[in-house]
Symmetry: C2
Subunit: 203 residues, 2 copies
DNA sequence: GTCTATACCGAGATAGAC
DNA sequence: GTCTATCTCGGTATAGAC
């Protein structure tokens, strides 16, 4: 089963498990080598595809990257769950979402790896990923934190500072786990990072 | 004036301002594109050199990378100053060094950019940079923090947690400044990051 | 739809004139 | 020492057989 992607020059995108395998392969390659150095040959090979199939189904390396990033952020959004009860119990919902975020970052380090690679150079890829994914997420965290503070809980930190803490301590260590292992001797753990965040955030 | 580099297959490394210009160009390219995607042609062009001169003087792209990284860490070490008085006044020396580190990270975001690119894939480059630079620095920070704690100052944080805070809040925001600008609307500032670190570290 | 073959480009490294 | 020219390799993308 195939479906046409709007604005994709008529290329067809396969759905289902087969496509998911290729997108996962793409995320591994893009997150470890960066967009430029990642090769569509390696991505196809990793998923048992042939290289020209990528161009047929996704149109270009660029569009494959976008679809893969969308796929990854959709997975995160699904994990974070609904924030419907945030007005009634802001602290509990914030803590639960934070736990989901840290667990996701440990299980899927590709997301922060891609973000940190793209974050260093301003350009169309960074603009796309920030407008579409990063800024909405940061604003969501900021609003949630504002509710936490309004409820009289949490440390005296601005939404931006909280965002920095969440990324710097909840995502970065897992994205950089090979370095962390070599420097400290042990891999970062979800429970420890979460406990550290709770202490610093005053939750 | 030239000098031979030990274990460099007899290649000659130029010294002085001319070489510094090339190393700076190399750091810009390596830190924004990553080792694999950076091209020696671009590096040479940026410094007004021709591409084959890089191979003549440094032997290979790999060795150029190592010399450039050494150059960058030497600059950081020079900025951090001496820690001789750390036993007498640990808090003051720690705060001063932290200030120098954050200021350096803002002025030279290339260091953390290169570290975070290399941190995601275990391999010879990561091993080299950790053994030679990152672990010694982390251990130095750990020892300094232990002295701070022994003096009864600072928050209840382990040396590893302090290291994570220093990197995550003192270096990462500047390395990712294009993203920070797009997400928050303003660039990270040395004084603000330093103030945040002081509050979290209890200094 | 999926393959092979290939066009086209740019990479790192090297040879050789000067 | 520094240049031009070039070798070899691997990248994306495309053409065309099946």
């Amino acid at each position: 089963m195939t479906q046409t992607v709007a604005g994709n020059k008529g290329t067809r995108r396969p759905s289902g498990a087969v496509a998911t395998e290729l997108l996962d392969a793409a995320l591994v390659e893009f997150s470890t080598h960066g967009f430029e150095a990642a090769s569509t040959r390696s991505i196809a090979q990793r998923a048992g595809w042939h290289q020209p199939q990528i161009n047929y189904h996704f149109g270009s390396k660029q569009e494959l990257w976008q679809v893969a990033v969308d796929h990854l952020f959709a997975e995160l959004t699904g994990q974070l769950g609904d924030l419907s009860g945030i007005d009634d119990a802001p602290v509990e919902v914030f803590r639960r979402s934070l736990g989901h975020f840290v667990a996701f970052s440990a299980r899927r380090p590709e997301l922060h790896r891609i973000m940190s690679i793209e974050a260093t150079v301003d350009g169309p890829r960074l603009g796309w990923i920030v407008d579409r994914h990063a800024r909405p997420l940061a604003e969501q965290v900021g609003r949630a934190w504002t509710l936490v503070r309004a409820a009289g809980a949490g440390a005296q930190l601005s939404p931006t500072e909280v965002w920095q803490l969440v990324i710097g301590l909840g995502a970065r260590p897992f994205a950089s786990s090979p370095e962390v292992v070599r420097v400290t001797g042990t891999a970062p753990e979800v429970a420890a990072q979460l406990d550290l965040l709770h202490r610093l955030l005053g939750l």
